[in-house]
């Protein structure tokens, strides 16, 4: 890498604000987005926590051999979640991608890469959301809030505890069917809390814009045949008014979809479970 700063050196030094100030914002982003190798710590999570999270994400959106198409591992979903948890290690924090265009549909440059600065108020909200209220007066005006960092740290530790009890190994070392059995245990609130938050974040990382660190090589958009962000090109003519090229829906699949009807309702998000997505069909 020559005189270039490596990602590893960068992560080791990234507690130093002075270092960050010396680097151009896009270079910082590039370093942050570089995926840590196996066995290395992430931007926020330890090496072991990151391996556990990778194993978890791989069950939520599986790739080979469970499914022939790339999954959360190939999309680098766990790394994107780690990036969110450590969002404040760079400036501007990697929370709101910029706009209006990426360079994927006719934009001259990738505006998404230029993350939006948080002002004082927005930063307070996101520090509470990620770091929790930590007993600080200015963060506990409406009571204590558990941050995402704690939810992940404690949840991942709990997964290992459950795995140890089952098979005497950490979660990442378990066979996938045993991992699925733990993740499906509706009687374990701690597991379900982690699965809830990690599933939502994994879906963001697999199916959201790649600037957030996931959807590597657009795998999540390729196997879903999703055009992604289409501005400024948009759609025209028969693309709008005519039928699409997708395969027909079978009556059997249609019947099976009815159970998802409740998912069309918007789910209000309570502050004590602030990581849940609102979901639902947009109304307006």
């Amino acid at each position: 890498m020559g005189k270039e700063l490596s990602r590893r050196q960068f992560v080791a030094a990234s507690g130093s604000l002075g270092l960050l100030a010396l680097l151009p914002g896009e270079r910082v982003n590039a370093l942050m987005l570089a995926t840590p190798k196996r066995g290395h710590p992430g931007r926020f999570l330890s090496a072991h926590q990151l391996e556990t999270l990778r194993a978890l994400c791989a069950r939520l959106v599986p790739g080979p051999p469970d499914d022939p198409d790339p999954g959360a591992t190939e999309a680098r979903a766990a790394d994107a979640i780690d990036l969110l948890l450590g969002a404040f290690r760079v400036h501007p924090p990697l929370i709101h991608a910029g706009g209006p265009f990426s360079s994927r549909s006719g934009g001259r440059r990738d505006d998404f890469k230029r993350f939006v600065r948080l002002d004082r108020q927005a930063e307070l909200g996101w520090r509470i959301r990620l770091e929790g209220s930590r007993g600080k007066r200015e963060r506990e005006f409406a009571g204590p809030v558990r941050g995402l960092q704690a939810v992940y740290r404690e949840g991942l530790r709990h997964l290992d505890e459950r795995a140890q009890a089952v098979d005497g190994q950490d979660f990442a070392k378990l066979l996938p069917p045993l991992q699925d059995a733990i993740l499906s245990d509706q009687g374990d609130d701690s597991v379900q809390e982690l699965v809830g938050v990690a599933f939502a974040n994994t879906l963001d990382a697999v199916y959201g814009p790649p600037e957030y660190g996931g959807n590597h090589k657009l795998v999540g958009w390729r196997y879903t045949d999703w055009p992604g962000d289409t501005q400024p090109r948009g759609f025209h003519g028969a693309e709008i008014t005519g039928p699409g090229n997708g395969k027909p829906l079978s009556a059997a699949t249609a019947a099976s979809l009815s159970r998802f009807l409740p998912g069309l309702a918007v789910r209000p998000v309570a502050n004590d479970a602030h990581w849940r997505p609102r979901g639902g069909l947009q109304t307006g």
């Binding site: 706009g99 993740l183 948009g234 979809l257 947009q282 109304t283």
Partner: protein, 572 residues
């Protein structure tokens, strides 16, 4: 003689319309907005300001434009809970709208139907409804019509008068054709409209504030599909900024991140003299003006007036009637869903491109015992879902992760094959449906948060149950439809309505400071002037007397222009 200075609280639909009219009439106008601007160059007055919105579903879910409930929570409870002494059963996101320069219109659906004649005279025409607080508005459709025209011109509303049903034009007559023709119709909307027509209904292109051609320096819409709930990356959609930008060019000034928490009044309580606010640095400040206009949206306006107690207004400013905060109304959404065999990609459109208003009512024959009539609302025909929305819908079921979820995503089942009709159901005003100040929960500034108490009237439940199956019939009749379902309130059997389609999830918020002729039963008059105060006006959904069955923002803006006209005639 210089014109009176005007201070406006809120830069959303109502506040921006007032600012536009008054700044151009020569009034010094200052706008205090609790949010920040997401449009570089806008508040600085640049003619070609930019936007930071993109086709980005992740950002939309990360409180980019919406108020952050961790900083500004709201609380809620049902009427039953309130009767049992429960202080709150929910803390978090309750009807959160964008809290940013431009307000809710930065990501609105931009559907702009007019209210109907009957909406303004519900009490006179159809009588009382037991348990509801039905009243006439202190104005008529004809009073508002010229302001509807003006707002439509400024927004650049698309539509086609020739395709509107006779009953619509009878109830909401219009002198002019729309500013521009309709967008290319979505394929899903066309199919569902055909289904509706086969049953004798009369669907037509939805009037919307979306450019089908270049207008006021903004390009035409290219149907990218990231519309309702997303900021427009090319600014093809009109909204508050259609008024705010020219207001700024005419001299109005917008102050970001200024949260107004109190309106100061004169010793005798007859004049607003100042507003107290917290600025972006957390400093407590005060500003004076000759005239104060509150346009903070129905919930926040009620909260501000309730927080502004004074010995002459012991229950909050303008609350001698004890109506302040009450008659809070939301639209309930009843849903019809069709699954189509072919790929109909309903999401490729500026949300829904068709509407039908055959279910607005009233229907006296179908009303169950105890109700004199039923009313539904306008329908949004042909809605669809985007990628992450689809992923979240599948993920809502327990243990839905894994191969099955991924297979559904690969089959693009809902994205390609689902088309929906949503009925914008009228909500009855009730005294017990209200905003008050939560006794314990504070926001990050330290001020009491708004508490929403809401319960559905039998009227909404009966209307949803009655019109819901009719939506399903339309879905079944659509060419290519192979399955249909309907979601009435409550969408999930056994679940409390408040959890599903109730106060937490709708973006249409009305009432809380209703207008009326009689100060004993209303908060402000027909021009939004708060009773008993000579220089305090309201210009948002708070002044609504009924909710109608129509998306409310066009009416908010038209009322705001009417209020501005009243102010513009004043001297210092």
């Amino acid at each position: 003689m210089s014109k009176p200075s005007v201070l406006i609280v809120g830069s959303g639909a109502g506040g921006s319309a007032v600012a536009w009219r008054l700044a151009r009439a020569g009034h010094p106008v200052e706008i205090l907005e609790r949010g920040r601007s997401l449009f570089p160059g806008l508040v600085e007055g640049e003619e070609r300001f930019r936007t930071r919105f993109g086709n980005d579903e992740v950002k939309a879910g990360r409180y980019f434009e919406n108020q952050d409930p961790l900083l500004e929570p709201r609380t809620s409870r049902t009427q039953d809970e309130a009767n049992q002494g429960v202080e709150r059963s929910f803390v978090g996101d309750v009807n959160d709208l964008p809290a940013t320069v431009g307000g809710g219109t930065v990501h609105w659906d931009a559907k702009v139907p007019r209210f109907w004649r009957q909406d303004f005279k519900g009490r006179s025409l159809y009588g009382p409804v037991q348990g509801a607080n039905v009243a006439d508005w202190p104005l008529t459709y004809d009073d508002l019509a010229p302001h509807y025209d003006a707002v439509e011109r400024r927004l650049g509303v698309q539509g086609d008068r020739r395709r509107m049903p006779a009953h619509t034009l009878h109830q909401a007559p219009r002198r002019h054709q729309f500013v521009m023709p309709p967008n290319p119709p979505s394929h899903a909307g066309t199919l569902m409209a055909e289904g509706a027509e086969s049953l004798g209904y009369e669907p037509y292109p939805f009037p919307m504030a979306v450019n089908s051609r270049h207008h006021h320096g903004r390009p035409r819409c290219n149907s990218c599909g990231f519309c309702s709930g997303f900021g427009c990356p090319i600014q093809a959609r009109g909204g508050a900024l259609s008024f705010l930008a020219p207001a700024i060019a005419a001299g109005a000034r917008v102050h970001e991140r200024c949260f107004v928490h109190k309106i100061g009044v004169s010793r005798d309580g007859r004049r607003a003299t100042s507003v107290a606010y917290v600025d972006r640095h957390g400093r407590r400040r005060r500003a004076k003006a000759d005239i104060v206009v509150v346009a903070a949206s129905a919930i926040e306006t009620a909260r501000l007036l309730l927080m502004s107690r004074h010995h002459t207004h012991p229950a909050g400013i303008g609350n001698h009637s004890h109506q302040l905060g009450r008659n809070l109304m939301f639209h309930y959404f009843t849903l019809g869903v069709a699954l189509f065999e072919p790929d109909i990609h309903a999401w490729i459109a500026p949300s829904t491109t068709f509407t039908m208003d055959d279910f607005v009512g009233p229907d006296t024959k179908a009303a169950p015992a105890g109700l004199p009539y039923l009313k539904g609302g306008i329908c949004e025909v042909g809605a669809g879902v985007t990628l992450l929305q689809e992923a979240d819908i599948y993920a809502a079921l327990p243990n839905s992760f894994g191969v099955e979820h991924k297979s559904l995503m690969k089959d693009v089942s809902l994205r390609s094959h689902l088309g929906a009709i949503q009925l914008v159901g009228e909500d009855m005003p009730q005294l017990a449906n209200r905003v008050d100040l939560d006794p314990a929960i504070r926001d990050f500034h330290g001020f009491p948060v708004p508490r929403i108490t809401h319960g559905q009237h039998q009227f909404e439940l009966a209307a949803s149950a009655y019109y819901g199956p009719k939506l399903a019939e339309v879905c079944q009749a659509a060419p290519g439809s192979i399955s249909s379902a309907v979601g009435v309130i409550p969408l999930v059997p056994g679940a409390p309505a408040s959890d599903i389609e109730g106060p937490n999830s709708t973006a249409h918020i009305m009432g809380t400071a209703r207008m009326g002729h009689d100060p004993r039963t209303s908060v402000c008059d027909g021009h939004g002037q708060v009773h008993g105060l000579e220089n305090l006006f309201l210009a948002d959904g708070s002044v609504f007397v009924s909710s109608g069955g129509f998306n409310p923002t066009l009416t908010i803006m038209a009322l705001a222009l009417r209020t501005a006209d009243r102010i513009a005639g004043r001297r210092r």
